[in-house]
Amino acid sequence: MTQAGNFVPLEGAIGSHFGPALPESVGHPSSMTVTVEGAARQTLEQARTRLVVVGALFGLALLVVAGRLVDLAILGGAGSNNQVRVAPAAARVVRADILDRNGHVLATSIATASLFADPQKIIDAPDAARQLATLFPDVTYGEFLQKLQGKNRFVWLRRHLTPRQQYDVNQLGIPGVAFEPDERRLYPQGSEVAQVIGYADIDSQGIAGIEQSFDDYLAKGTDPLRLSIDIRLQHMLHREVAAQVEEFHAMGGGGLIMDTHTGEILAMVSLPDFDPEQPGAEPKPAPGEPDPHFNRMTLGVYEMGSIFKVFNTALALDSGKVKLTDYFDAWHPIKIGRFTIHDFKGDELPGYSSVAKIFEISSNIGSAQMVKQVGPEAQEQFMDKLGLTKKMSLEVPEVGTPGIPRPWRPINMLTIAFGHGISVTPVQLVSAICAVANGGILRPATLIQRPDGAVPQGVRVISEETSDTMRRLMRLVVTGGTAKQFGNVPGYLVGGKTGTAEKIMLGSYAKRHANLSSFVGVFPMTDPRYAVFVTIDEPHGNKKSAGFETGGWVAAPAVARVISSMGPLLGVPAVDPDSPVIQAKMEIDVNPVGRHIAPN
C-alpha cells in the first residue's frame, strides 16, 4: 500500500457514511472484514462520522479566529462589538482646584485609591480581615470581618489609601478585594478659609460653601475656580480676629475685607472655625455654644448697633432735610410708648449737638432726633436701596435673611437710626458701608474674582457730595471720636465707625456682658480702596481695655493692625495726614454756625 492511497479526503469519509458502507468502500483489504463486523463496524463508522463533525467544528472555530485576525489587522477592530479602543475605562475627572485671587491653592484634589471588596468572592473572610486589620490599626478586625461577610457584592473597606498602603494591600494578595481609582480633597490652608470654601465629602461632593455652590463646575474639572479672596489678607485678618477673641475671652468673632470699588471680598473670617479635611471631627456644639461650621459673615444676621449711624447720617444729609450745620437735642432721652431711648453713661452730650458731633461720639438720642426729619418711609426706602432689607445674593449657599420690622413704625425708625431693630449679615453691612464711602455707588458683594476690569456699574445710593461728607465724618470718628484710641493707623488715613450692639437673648436685650462689638474701617479716606470690618461676639472687658467692651476698644485695634499690615502689602501709599492737601480733604467743622432743631 502506498502513501498516496492512505490519505483520504474528508468528503470521502462522509460519503462512506451515506453509502452502503461496504468494507471495500473504506479502502481496506477485504481481509479486514473478518474482524470488523456487526456492532463493532457500526461503532467504528459512527466514530469516523463524528470525528468529521469534531474536525468541522474545529475548522469553523479556526475560521472565526482568522476572521477576527483580519478584522483587527485590516479594519482596526471596527467590526467588533466589544469596542476596546473606545473604552480605556474613562479616566476619572479630577475635581478642579479652588484658587485665591493670586493663584494660591485653597482646595485641590489628589488621586488616591480606595479599597473595596466583593464579599461573595472572599474565600476566607476571617483570614482576610485579620490581615487587613494588621495593615490598618485604626480599623478593628471585627469591622473588617463584618464587611467581608456581608451579603452585598460591593463594600468599601477603606477610602483613600496612600500609595504605601496600596502597595501593602497588594502584597497581601487577598482575592476578592480590589482598588477603585478615587480622589480626595485637600485644603492646604487648613481652617483659615474653612467657612468660605466649605468642604467636599469623602466622595468629593461639595456639601458646604463654595464647594457646594460650585459643585457642578468643579466636578467637571476643567478650569480652577478663582476666588476674590487674597490668602495673605485672609491670614492677617484671621490672626487679628483670633487674637481679639482670645484676649477678650469672647464667644467668637468675625471679619471681612472688601474692595470698596468692586465689591470683591478679599478676606472673610468666622471664628470658631473647623478643619475642612475633617469636618466632622469635632462634636456638635452644645446649645448656646457657637457652631464652628456657621459662617457669621454670610449666614449670621446681627443688629449692628452704631455702625448704622453711617447710614442714618447719610440718609439725613442726602435727603436734604438735614444739613451739616444743624443741631439736635442729644441730651434728653426720648420716650415713645413704653420705650426710652438713651445713651451710654458718659456718652451724653449736654444740650444741642451738631450732626458731626453726634456722629463722632455716636449719640443714640441725637441720631434718633435726626431721622425724625426724614420719616420712616424714606428710611425704609433707603435701607432697601442699600440692600439691607432683603436676602443678598452671594456665591455660597449659607446666606442669612435680614430681620426687618413689619410694619416699619416710627418706633422702629428711631431704633434703626442707631442700629437696633434691624439685623443684617456683615457682608451686607460692609457692602453698604463701601457704597457710602466710595462716592455713593453700591455694588454687589462677591466671593469670585471679577474678570479683569469688569466692575459692574452699580447703583447710586447717595450723591458724591454726601459721600464726601461721610468720609470726613468717618475720618473724624478715628481722629477724635469713639475709635481714636485704637482705630488710627499712621499714614493710612483710616476712617470708620464703631458699633456696640446689645445682643438679643431669648427675645429681649441682654444686660451688660452680652455685646456684639464691631468696627468698620475704610482707608485711605481721601479715596477709599478697602473696607476692613471686625466684630467680636460677647467680649469680656479686661484690665487692658479698662473694662470696656465696646467696638472702639475691642474691634478697632484688630482693624488697625490688619490695615497696618495690608497697607504696605497692597502698595497703598502712606501719606502725611498733616499735609495741607489732606487736611483740606478731611476737614470738618464740628461746631458750625447753624439752626437748632427742637425735638417735637
Binding site: 500500500m1 502513501q3 492512505n6 490519505f7 483520504v8 479526503p9 474528508l10 470521502g12 469519509a13 473504506v26 479502502g27 481496506h28 483489504p29 481481509s31 479486514m32 474482524t35 470488523v36 463486523e37 456487526g38 456492532a39 463493532a40 461503532t43 467504528l44 459512527q46 466514530a47 469516523r48 463524528r50 470525528l51 468529521v52 469534531v54 474536525g55 474545529f58 475548522g59 472555530a61 479556526l62 472565526v64 479566529v65 482568522a66 477576527r68 485576525l69 483580519v70 483587527l72 489587522a73 485590516i74 482596526g76 477592530g77 467588533s80 466589544n82 476596546v84 479602543r85 473604552a87 480605556p88 475605562a89 466583593d118 461573595q120 468572592k121 472572599i122 474565600i123 482575592p175 480590589a178
Partner: protein, 379 residues
C-alpha cells in the same frame, strides 16, 4: 521525500520513515521554528522585567527543545500497543505526581501545580493530559472490542472513574484550564465512542453548568468572565494591550523584535505570544500559524478516518483535540473571543514542562497515525 532510507530498509528507523506522516512532521517543524523566533523576540523584555539574564527564556527554550524532539521522535517509533503501555505507565506516574503537588507543591500565583525534581520544576499535570487522553480512549474502545468478541468489559464505567479521579486532583490544585482541557478531551472521546445524542446534549448542558458553577465558586474565574462580558467593568489591561498589538501589527507587522506590546504584557512570552506574533509578524504570519494548527489537527483526523481500530481513532481524536483546543483557547483569549485564560500556544509559547509534555503527546499522535499494514498490528 528524500531517499535517505530505501523502501526496502526494514530497520526500525527505516520502517518509521516510510510509515510516519511526514507532512505533519514538516508542519510541526515549521511551528517549532516560528516558536523559536517569537520566543526570541518576545522574551528578553519579560526576562529583563523580572531581573533574569536577557536571553534566559531563549536559552531555556532552546535547551528544552532537544529532549522534546528526542521524546517526540522516540515515542513516535512505538506501535499502538507500545503507546498504550506508555500511556498507562505515565498516567499512573504523573497522576501520582500531580496528587503529590497538593502536598509538596510550590505555590505559584495561588495554585500548587509544580513539583521540584532535583534542579527541575515540572508540572506533572501537563504530562497527565496526553496520557489521560490515550487511557480514556483505550477504556472506551475496550468495551466495544469486548462486546464484539462476546465478552464484557466495563470500559465506560472505568473511563468515568478515571475522569472523576483526574478532575478531583486538578480541581484541588486548583487548575481550571487543565480541568477544562481534560474535560474536553474526555467528552470528545466519549462523543466519538458513540455517546447517544441525548447524552451529548445533556453533557453539553452539564458542561455549561460546570462553567457557571466555576463562575460562582472561584473568584478569579468570575472576575475574568465579568471582564470578558463587560470590558468596562474592570481591569482588561492585558486583553486591551493584546488587541492593540494585532491592530498595530496590521498586514505585515512591525518586523521581528520591533513590537512594543511585549514591553507592557507580563506574559508576552507565554500566554500572549500570539499577540506578539500579530504585532511583529503581521496578519500574514498569524493566518499562517492558524493554518498550521488547522492543518496538523485536520490532517491527524484524516489519517485515522479509515483506520479500523476504534482505540486509535479515539486516542488520536483525543490527542489532537487537546492540541487544537489549547491553540484555540490561546488564540481566542488574545483576540478577546474568549475570556482571558492563561494557556500556552503549543510549540510556540515558552514553557519547559508544557514543551516536553507536547513532545510526549505529539509523539503518541505521530505513532498512532503511522500507516499500519494489516497483520502488522499487534495488540
Amino acid at each position: 521525500m528524500s531517499t535517505v532510507f530505501a523502501r526496502t530498509d526494514h530497520s526500525v528507523v527505516g520502517r518509521w520513515w516510510w510509515t510516519v506522516d511526514r507532512w505533519t512532521l514538516v508542519a510541526l517543524a515549521v511551528l517549532i521554528g516560528v516558536g523559536a523566533l517569537l520566543v526570541t523576540a518576545a522574551s528578553p523584555s519579560v526576562a529583563e522585567r523580572i531581573h533574569l539574564p536577557t536571553f534566559y527564556f531563549v536559552i531555556h527554550q532552546a535547551v528544552m527543545l532537544v529532549p522534546t524532539l528526542i521524546l517526540m521522535l522516540g515515542v513516535s517509533l512505538l506501535s499502538p500497543r507500545g503507546v498504550r503501555r506508555l500511556a498507562f505507565g505515565s498516567f499512573i506516574v504523573f497522576y501520582f505526581l500531580t496528587a503529590l503537588t497538593l502536598v509538596f507543591g510550590n505555590e505559584i500565583k495561588g495554585a500548587t501545580r509544580w513539583v521540584s525534581v532535583g534542579p527541575l520544576s515540572v508540572q506533572p499535570s501537563e504530562f497527565l493530559k496526553p496520557a489521560f487522553a490515550v487511557v480514556s480512549a483505550w477504556l472506551f474502545a475496550r468495551q466495544h472490542a469486548a462486546r464484539a468478541a462476546g465478552q464484557f468489559f466495563p470500559g465506560y464505567l472505568l473511563a468515568v472513574a478515571v475522569f472523576g479521579a483526574v478532575l478531583m486532583v486538578l480541581m484541588a490544585q486548583p487548575d481550571f484550564g487543565m480541568t477544562f482541557v481534560c474535560t474536553a478531551i474526555w467528552f470528545a472521546e466519549f462523543f466519538l465512542a458513540g455517546l447517544p445524542m441525548v447524552f451529548v446534549l445533556a453533557l453539553a448542558v452539564m458542561a455549561i453548568g460546570g462553567l457557571v458553577g466555576a463562575y460562582f465558586i472561584f473568584p478569579h474565574i468570575a472576575s475574568r468572565i465579568d471582564r470578558f462580558l463587560d470590558p468596562a467593568a474592570g481591569d482588561t489591561y492585558q486583553v486591551d494591550r493584546s488587541l492593540e498589538a494585532f491592530i498595530h501589527g496590521g498586514l505585515t507587522g512591525t518586523g521581528p523584535g520591533q513590537g512594543t506590546v511585549k514591553l507592557s504584557l507580563p506574559d508576552a512570552h507565554a500566554d500572549f505570544i500570539f499577540a506578539v506574533a500579530g504585532e511583529e509578524l503581521g496578519l500574514a504570519a498569524t493566518l499562517f500559524i492558524v493554518t498550521l494548527f488547522g492543518f496538523i489537527v485536520l490532517r491527524g483526523f484524516a489519517r485515522v478516518l479509515k483506520d479500523t481500530d476504534v482505540f486509535v481513532v479515539l486516542a488520536v481524536g483525543g490527542l489532537f483535540t487537546q492540541f487544537g483546543l489549547q491553540a484555540l483557547v490561546h488564540m481566542g483569549s488574545s483576540l478577546h473571543l474568549l475570556p482571558a485564560k492563561g494557556m500556552t500556544l503549543p510549540f510556540i509559547s515558552y514553557g519547559g514542562s508544557s514543551m516536553l509534555a507536547l513532545g510526549l503527546g505529539t509523539g503518541m499522535a505521530l505513532a498512532l497515525t503511522r500507516t499500519r499494514f494489516p497483520g502488522s498490528e499487534s495488540r
